[in-house]
Amino acid sequence: MGAWTDMAFILVVVLDLFLLASSRLGAAIRAVALQGALLSLLALLLTGSGHSVGHMLVVAGGAFFIKAVLIPWLMFRAIREMAIRREMEPLVGYVPSMILGGVGVVLSFAFSRGLPLPTNEMHPFLVPTALATVWTGLLLVVSRRKAVTQVLGFLVLENGVFVFGLLLTDFMPVMVEAGVLLDLLAAVFVMGIVMFQINREFASLDTDALSSLKD
């Protein structure tokens, strides 16, 4: 059991690095879907005694459905409908991104000891994984040009927050978690709509084109 949990955490971090290095959009979406699936698995694996199993099942099931099935499907649909070029178009190259990501992983492992946490840590990899994933998500948002890839970055960021939330499942009422998941879905919807509009207006999804809108 412990080995599986370790493995799941490590895979989440490896997927972070993969996302930073990946040049293909489709692969990146699949990687995010896989990461979402891993997270729902983690939620189940971390269910110890003292947790209500029903609660965890709801969280894991909801996360799996939204993160691993619904959102990837929406994004593939968006790519198809809007005929987006299946390349990431980075502002920061793949190798520098990966180096930055690696530095982030190292630092988050180094720093996670010092963080004051409300609970006894459930798993030694939990906090570093969360930090590394949030870092990766933000890096993706900052360094990728296309609107779709920014949605991807946002999803990864949200995955990191979800990992952190696993630490707090004892404290978080189901309503809050449901709210977070719903929030995510709504955000993706809104971004989808905005992307569609940008596409129609500028005939491209390059966010640099948005600069011409500034006041």
């Binding site: 720093f111 933000l138 948002v141």
Partner: protein, 662 residues
């Protein structure tokens, strides 16, 4: 029981405006019913507050609330009851006044909105003084602040109301922020957000002083202490008069209530806190009245007088704090009694004056003192009632303003009875400051009364004035009557005030009782002198009637054949000498075109007082800040990656700070 009554009053007042919303087709009926509901709430409030002031124990109601750290805890003790009385009564009288002054038929949806917010602000103010839980208090406080914003914007098309409302909103939020920080630090240190668990806060050390400063900033902003008064004149002048009466007469007092409550939490506050309050109060008192003297706008002038009176109240509070730090029951009692009674008194006479100003504006359409004149012939009742308010605010016997200022002055003088060479004896300096403030206030109201009501009308508007309807005069008469009653019978008020002082300071009531006995002795003297004064005036009046009035003749006009109103002293020229002395604080904008040549034409001279803190310090600072930040914003605006990068950098910086430096 009394607590339940008070809560019923809160609910009734809060929902009073809904009647107007439901009865949109019958606006006059809706407004009358709303005013009736507010009056009923006031009656309930009196029924709740009077028994508590008369000695029945504090009433506590505890309900659970589905919010973290919050509970629906209400507490009606003597201090709350003292504030509850004006908070419920003044808005009720204002609402009755509003029937004539601001009829819903004429103002349409604006008036319906106004009535709605008017009710909610009344209810939330009452809730503020009843709340016994920090979060409930903050909730009521924020509702109150937001209602104030909408009340100032009652006529949203007017530019001055717009500007004033935004300044007000910004000030209110800075204040709430400070209070929030204060409550959060105390609450997390105490592990509970119920006020009942907050007694006996330590007051030594720098941390306690910072906490007290936060509270002073938050509540001082609401109360309008100099230099935090900058939002006040604009907001109070822009609102309709019965709203100004509520804002100036009552809303400010919630800040004072906050200061009282907070001061009560601390165990044995150091003497320096009392000194800070006395200095701030003295500065507010003198500068408030100096600024008032220079105003041409009647309502702005009254608003600056609120700053002055808040100063007097704060000086009293400072004396009471000094008494607590030295363990002197006399100082505590006199300071508290003067301060708390002045809260009630100021609510009475300031709302009376604002209603009077509203009556003048209703009749003439202007609030400019220089464009009025001679109104006492057309509006004798308004003039007479305004005169009562003016005498009361100037602290003249036999009216209520004198009584409370007398208590504060007595407290200041009894600071001399402290141990010899005690540095706290300097509190005696409050007495001359009070005298100065009172004299300047009297000068200011001579200017107002003289240039608005006496002489000849200066403009056509003033000449056309007619007396206001009875529905506007009755509330003013009620307020004036209350002023006279408090002024004639201060000894009756000593016992309730002593109860308030005991509830506030946690001092042994028996020790306070001795001081209260001494104070009631002087109060009886005050009553006696007041009765003699009233008797003398009445006797002289009767004598004059019996002898028959002399023949009416034209005023001597220095030998001019055809005197006109243009030759009469204006309010500005009357106040000129005093304004000259306060030039350093007024910083007036002077426009002067001197006469030229042997046959001069078109010479002009005008002064316009400026609000120094707002116009010369805050607004330029905000403008500079906006231009500086907009330059930075121009760099990143519209660039999504850079904005996300900013978020990232902030996050990393925060993490690094948390991990490396802490």
């Amino acid at each position: 029981m009394t607590g339940a009554l008070a809560l019923a009053a809160v609910v009734l007042a809060t929902s009073s405006g809904l009647l107007g919303l439901a009865l949109r087709d019958r606006p006059d009926l809706g407004q009358r019913l709303s005013a009736g509901a507010l009056c009923l709430a006031a009656v309930l409030g009196i029924a709740a507050a009077v028994p508590v002031l008369a000695g029945s124990p504090a009433s506590v109601i505890q309900l659970s609330w589905n919010q973290p750290h919050a509970s629906l805890a209400f507490r009606l003790d003597a201090l709350s009851a003292l504030f509850l009385l004006p908070i419920l009564c003044v808005p009720a009288l204002g609402a009755v006044f509003g029937i004539g002054y601001w009829p819903q038929e004429e103002h349409g949806s604006h008036a319906v909105n106004l009535q709605l917010w008017y009710g909610v602000v009344t209810g939330s103010m009452a809730l503020v003084v009843l709340a016994d839980n920090a979060l409930l208090f903050l909730f009521a406080w924020e509702v109150m602040a937001l209602c104030g914003f909408f009340l100032v914007r009652a006529e949203p098309d007017r530019r001055d109301a717009q500007k004033a409302s935004w300044v007000y909103l910004a000030a209110a939020h800075v204040g709430t922020f400070a209070i929030f920080a204060f409550f959060a630090s105390v609450g997390s240190a105490r592990g509970s957000f119920d006020f009942s668990a907050w007694g006996g806060l330590g007051s030594g050390g720098a941390a306690a002083s910072w906490l007290a400063l936060l509270a002073l900033l938050g509540f001082g902003l609401k109360a309008g202490l100099v230099p935090l008064h900058f939002w006040l004149p604009g907001a109070h002048a822009a609102a309709p008069s019965h709203v100004s009466a509520v804002m100036s007469g009552v809303l400010l007092k919630t800040g004072i209530y906050g200061l009282f409550r907070t001061a009560g939490f601390f165990e044995a506050p150091p003497a320096s806190w009392g000194a800070v309050l006395m200095v701030l109060g003295g500065v507010s008192g003198v500068l408030g009245v100096a600024l008032a003297l220079a105003q041409h706008d009647l309502k702005r002038l009254l608003a600056y007088h609120s700053v002055e009176n808040i100063g007097i109240i704060t000086m009293g509070l400072g004396i009471a704090m000094l008494g607590r730090s030295r363990g002197e029951p006399g100082l505590v009692l006199l300071g508290f009694a003067g301060s708390a009674l002045h809260v009630v008194n100021h609510a009475l006479f300031k709302s009376l004056l604002f209603l009077g100003a509203g009556s003048v504006q209703h009749a003439t359409g202007t609030r400019d003192v220089e464009r009025l004149g001679g109104l006492s012939r057309a509006m004798p009742w308004t003039a007479g009632l305004f005169l009562v308010g003016a005498a009361a605010i100037s602290g003249l016997p036999p009216l209520n303003g004198f009584v409370s200022e007398w208590f504060v002055a007595l407290g200041a003088v009894s600071a001399l009875e402290l141990a010899p060479l005690d540095r706290a004896s300097f509190a005696v300096l409050v007495a001359p400051v009070l005298a100065l403030v009172g004299a300047l206030a009297a000068a200011c109201f001579v200017k107002v009364q003289g240039s608005v009501f006496l002489g000849n009308p200066r403009t056509k508007d003033a000449a056309r004035a007619e007396e206001s309807p009875g529905v506007m005069l009755v509330p003013m008469a009620a307020l004036a009557g209350a002023c006279v009653i408090v002024g004639l019978a201060p000894a009756l008020l000593i016992a309730p005030l002593a109860r308030g002082a005991a509830a506030w300071s946690g001092m042994d009531p028996a020790r306070l009782a001795g001081a209260a006995g001494a104070a009631s002795g002087t109060a009886t003297w005050v009553s006696g002198v007041a009765f003699v004064l009233v008797g003398t005036v009445a006797g002289l009046w009767l004598l004059r009637r019996r002898l028959g009035a002399g023949t009416a003749a034209e005023t001597w006009s220095c030998g001019y054949a055809y005197p006109t109103a243009r030759m009469a002293y204006t309010g500005s020229s009357f106040a000129q000498i005093l304004n000259q002395g306060f030039r350093w604080v007024l910083l007036p904008r002077v426009r002067f075109t001197p006469p030229k040549g042997p046959f001069p034409t078109g010479a002009r001279f005008s002064t316009e007082p400026r609000e120094a803190v707002l116009d010369l310090a805050l607004l330029p600072a905000v403008r500079d800040y906006i231009s500086a930040t907009s330059r930075v914003r121009g760099l990143i605006a519209g660039r999504l990656h850079l904005q996300a990068l900013l978020v990232l950098a902030t996050l990393v910086a925060l993490l690094a700070w948390r991990l490396l430096w802490w």
